[in-house]
Amino acid sequence: MSAHADSLAAAQTVEGYNFAYLDEQTKRMIRRSLLKAVAIPGYQVPFASREMPLPYGWGTGGIQVTASILGACDTLKVIDQGADDTTNAVNIRAFFARTAGVATTTRTEEASVIQTRHRIPETPLTDQQILVYQVPIPEPLRWLEPRERETRMLHALGEYGLMQVSLYEDIAQHGRIAKTYNYPVQVSGGYIMAPSPIPKFDNPKLHRNPALQLFGAGREKRIYAVPPYTDVRSLDFDDYPFDVEHWDTACALCGATDSYLDEIVTDDAGGRRYVCSDSDYCDRRRQAGDTGAAR
């Protein structure tokens, strides 16, 4: 769906719903939680998550956050796995175009609000933008400590030895830290946070990002935030420092060597190629004249 078509759809807002679907009281409640989340970076603030006309797996936490911060003048971009044209992204974008009548776009630099699942855009964000993450499991200590009361206590006391134990175990079993997505981070030297299932490739973009980053978990009823320009450190060991994925190939479409690449199987014979997961980034580069074939 082109940006132009989206804007046309947006002109016809659905009657009978409040702006951006949620009622004003719910939005105020969520905004209060958001303010608290921004004031305590990385801290999971409970909120009274509402039923949304979409199943949980579709990112109802992110949708509620977006609904609460969206204004009539905003321009919304929605990505899923880096792409604007997946079913999830198209549906959420159409949802807000209909219920809020906001402009939508696929271009990262044009958006004032970007809702995302699985990626941070390759195009650097600015302090005029807000990135909203859809989060399935907000608690980074969950698989280590199933008791909610205890995880809250560990966060409150900053007792994070357990998290380090899980990294130790990774190295002992696999020879390296095997986590490749949802890689745990420490925010501003304080709370440890699950960055949602983004690849660890994106973790460095969390660090001192000029944009406000908001995280919404619908099923688990938690909101958390990383304010602009906040330190975000990926956990590691001194002798096993954090590093990101590398590819020994460039994007087959645009030739980018600095972006996160998805592996695409091209034929039954096991042929495969690598292309940018960020479709907007890839499109921009190709329109600017870069091609993978040229390299």
């Binding site: 006391l157 007792e159 030895g161 357990l162 380090q164 134990v165 175990e169 002992a172 079993q173 060991f237």
Partner: protein
């Protein structure tokens, strides 16, 4: 060891005062007081249900008593009341100064991670961030408690009962605590396995100058490890004294029954 042994010799490392704990109608611990000195092993004996575990848990700061205080003297000579400490400080003290070896190793181990991670956990909790160093410590401690260091990456469930108990001991001692609580550390083990574990414990306690509160219903274990004994009956202390005195010449009628093995212990 001489430095703090000398300094601490006339000051108890632990002072328990008028401790009581009730469960419904059962007075599990009834007005118990005692002192423990640096390097000393105090055995708590008594029949099943006499309140040994409840007392140990309350003394170790695991369970709040109804009344009474547990005063711990820290490395700098300051007295802290374990139950009055804020949660965070209490937990930190548990990682640095105290150890707890539980009767069932499953309760004292993290079953989901390797033996090495179990030993390294305290170090990581204390801020160690060098994998190689942590692993080396875990390796050395396994050797020290006589578990083959080749088992470093095995989960505890793959270790024998005796090895699990050794692992629990290593996991506690890695941070060089000063005071360790043990609840039936040789319970549930074969006699021959028990004997070797006792030897090991005796050696470690001596080398490290540990103060130990040891709960056991096995008078043989008590005789081998404890310097002093406290005999409990129905939540109360009925006799205290040097181990040999209590076992060879018990004064209280209840102790006499206990020692003569008339009571089922």
């Amino acid at each position: 060891m001489s430095a703090h042994a000398a300094r601490g010799a006339d000051h108890p490392i632990l002072s328990v005062r008028h401790l009581s704990k009730r469960f419904g109608r059962v007075q599990a611990v009834d007005d118990v007081s005692f002192d423990l000195f640096p390097g000393e092993v105090l055995g708590i004996v008594g029949e099943s249900g006499s309140g040994k575990t409840t007392l140990l848990r309350a003394v170790a700061g695991q369970e709040a008593p109804d009344t009474g205080a547990v005063l711990y003297r820290d490395r700098w000579g300051g007295l802290v009341d374990l139950h009055a400490l804020p949660e965070g400080r209490r937990r930190r003290l548990h990682r640095t100064d105290l150890g707890l070896v539980q009767q069932n190793p499953r309760d004292g181990l993290r079953m989901g991670v390797s033996a090495g991670a179990n030993v390294g956990e305290r170090l990581m909790a204390l801020g160690h961030r060098h994998y190689g160093t942590i692993r080396q410590s875990a390796h050395d401690w396994l050797a020290r408690v006589e578990v083959d260091p080749a088992r470093l990456d095995d989960p505890p469930a793959q270790l024998s009962g005796g090895m699990q108990q050794r692992l629990q001991i290593a996991r506690n001692l890695v941070s060089e605590p000063r005071l360790v609580f043990m609840d039936e550390p040789t319970g549930g083990l074969d006699v021959s396995v028990q004997a070797r574990l006792l030897d090991l414990l005796r050696g470690l306690v001596g080398e490290l100058g540990l103060a130990v509160v040891l709960v056991t219903h096995d008078l043989g274990v008590a005789r081998l490890l404890a310097h002093r004994l406290m005999v409990m009956q129905a939540g109360r202390v009925v006799e205290t004294g040097l181990t040999d005195q209590v076992l060879d010449d018990p004064q209280a009628a209840y102790s006499q029954l206990l020692v003569s093995s008339i009571l089922p212990v």
